[in-house]
Amino acid sequence: MGEEKLWLDMYISMVRIRKFEEKVVELFAQGKIPGFVHSYIGEEAVAVGACSALEPTDYITSTHRGHGHLIAKGGDLKYMMAELYGKKTGYCKGKGGSMHIADVDLGILGANGIVGAGLPIATGAALSSYLQRNGRVALCFFSDGASNRGTFHESLNMASIWKLPVVFLCENNMYGISMPQRKGMAVEDIADRAAAYGIPGVVVDGNDVIAVYEAVKEAVTRARAGGGPTLIEAKTARWRGHFEGDPQIYRTPEEIEDWKKKCPIMRFQEKLIKMGILDEAKIREIESMIAREVEEAVRFAEESPYPEPEEALEDVYA
């Protein structure tokens, strides 16, 4: 794949995440989506930069804020939206919802409602790849908050001693709900913690999709070659609350506005225009294409049936 095509695909993927999430926020406010919704708006460069550096057979583990990761790894908007609605046609037949969407065939080992739970699971997927000698890499998305959990320590330690093919990608959006990173840890860069495991630690601008891509690509190459794990910290911000409805008393509107000025999509768009890969017409074409995809996903979700209540009893055991 030529770089131009790759950059364009990455741009499209970022727009797809943004538009999907904007629609989800709107539908949630209308009461059409039950449960909790954690919006990924503002962090698109991390998911897309990272997943673009993976092969389709590679694995990811995701988080409660997982829609972006799933879309970037190839998740189908229709099945995602249907799952958010709790419909039978959703990825998990309505049993998982936003926080548990998975598609093992796409290498998506699940969003996860427990902060930091993906770390040992990704480590296990990497152990599995190593034992099967199948060359697959596991990439673990987790957050600044999760990096304070014991799972972080045990997983990075285990992966480093066994040189497992795993990339630990910390999306540092600077808050664990209301807890600012600076109050939750005494280090400024989470990547510094890599030193404790004898592995490379890299800080990257999480709003620069190419920077994320290049850092992850290097880590993936090292992992696949048997060089072991890397800890990458992508500094970014969520534009919306921790969950939809979060009053956000812990940060100022100015702080959010400052981050909006660093919009990862606008930055990438400007870059691609300068490179001659995008122009106004192409941008409009992409936006209307994505708008159609999202509308189609909503239509699919709304027209799909709910599961029969008794289906709650299925799928407990294999």
């Binding site: 694995y59 998990c92 998982g96 040992p120 990704a122 296990g124 990497a126 599995s128 099967q132 055991y317």
Partner: protein, 323 residues
């Protein structure tokens, strides 16, 4: 037929399944050259090497969490947690990941993994190394829970557990590791969910698990001398539970006692009693009794430990009180 110990039987099951299926691997603390804290995996590291017998740092969370990730991606891990008491360290991985992943994903993943761990008192190992926590796990839909008493059952059930496509909690009693029993040379598998009547009788049914099966059989022998005929039913697996065999026995004897080492309060015995009440109430000639661990942590000092764990005489007295 040859006799081997419970630990040897478990080791044979591990060896046979590892030879049969290269996706099966062992992971745990000191399971390699050291052979496991109770010696169960002795010799397997020499036979299968580093990749198949993975010695880990002290990281219960990563042992179980990585097993979830490996099982979801085509492997069949058999994790060892050194003492059942340490399962708490990995309880999110057990409760929220292993038990629920298949369900949350709408049935689109299989998690063929086994967690082996020793339960029970008797070694003066005190409160953090002696518990029987099976009720933690039977309370979680998505898990299967196996609790074998004899070497024969341990081997056949572990083989079935390793071949099962669900997470299985396999609870071994540490006082049983050295107990011998007949185990055939030829291969066999015992399906999960089939109870075993360890002794037939007419007057009272004892439903006992793990080490308490032996104590109940001893009690039955003593009572036989007094003309009391006791039937001992070992469920062997707590989920799936062979309700039919328990109920049929109670219908025959009209009296039932549940015996387990775990503390009585909210123990699995309460579940068995409830099933009997729901399905065989009209057959009962006396209230169902429980003989269980006292509602305390397990104390250290020998007379204290002995006091809180059910003993043969407690079972004998309970049987007599029903007649």
């Amino acid at each position: 037929m040859r006799e081997i110990t419970y630990a040897e039987a478990i080791r044979e099951a591990l060896r046979e399944e590892m030879k049969r299926d290269e996706r099966v691997y062992i992971i745990g603390e000191d399971v390699g050259r050291f052979g496991g804290c109770f010696g169960v995996t002795k010799g397997l590291w020499e036979e299968f090497g580093d990749d198949r017998v993975k010695d880990t740092p002290i990281s219960e969370t990563a042992i179980i969490g990585s097993s979830v990730g490996a099982a979801a991606t085509g492997m069949r891990p058999v994790a060892e947690i050194m003492f059942c008491d340490f399962m708490g360290v990995a309880m999110d991985e057990i409760t929220n990941q292993a038990a629920k992943m298949r369900y949350m994903f709408g049935g689109k993943v299989k998690l063929p993994m086994v967690i082996r761990t020793p339960v029970g008192g008797g070694l003066c190992a005190a409160a953090q190394h002696s518990q029987s926590l099976e009720a933690w796990f039977t309370h979680l839909p998505g898990l299967k829970v196996v609790m074998p008493s004899t070497p024969y059952d341990a081997k056949g059930l572990l083989k079935a557990s390793i071949r099962d496509d669900n997470p299985v909690i396999f609870l071994e009693h540490k006082m049983l590791y050295g107990v011998k029993g007949t185990v055939p040379e030829e291969e066999y598998v015992i399906p999960l969910g089939v109870a075993d009547v360890k002794r037939e009788g007419r007057d009272v049914t004892i439903i006992a698990t793990s080490l308490m099966v032996y104590k109940s059989l001893e009690a039955a022998k003593l009572l036989e001398k007094e003309g009391i005929s006791v039937e001992v039913v070992d469920p062997r697996t707590l989920y799936p539970l062979d309700e039919e065999k328990i109920i049929n026995s109670v219908k025959k004897t009209h009296r039932a006692i549940v015996v387990h080492e775990a503390v009585e309060r909210n123990g699995f015995g309460g579940e068995i009693v409830a099933i009997i009440m729901e399905k065989a109430f009209e057959y009962l000639d006396a209230p169902v009794k429980r003989v269980c661990g006292k509602n305390t942590p397990i104390p250290f000092s020998p007379p204290l430990e002995r006091f809180v764990i059910p003993q043969v005489e407690d079972i004998v007295n309970a049987v007599k009180s029903l007649l």
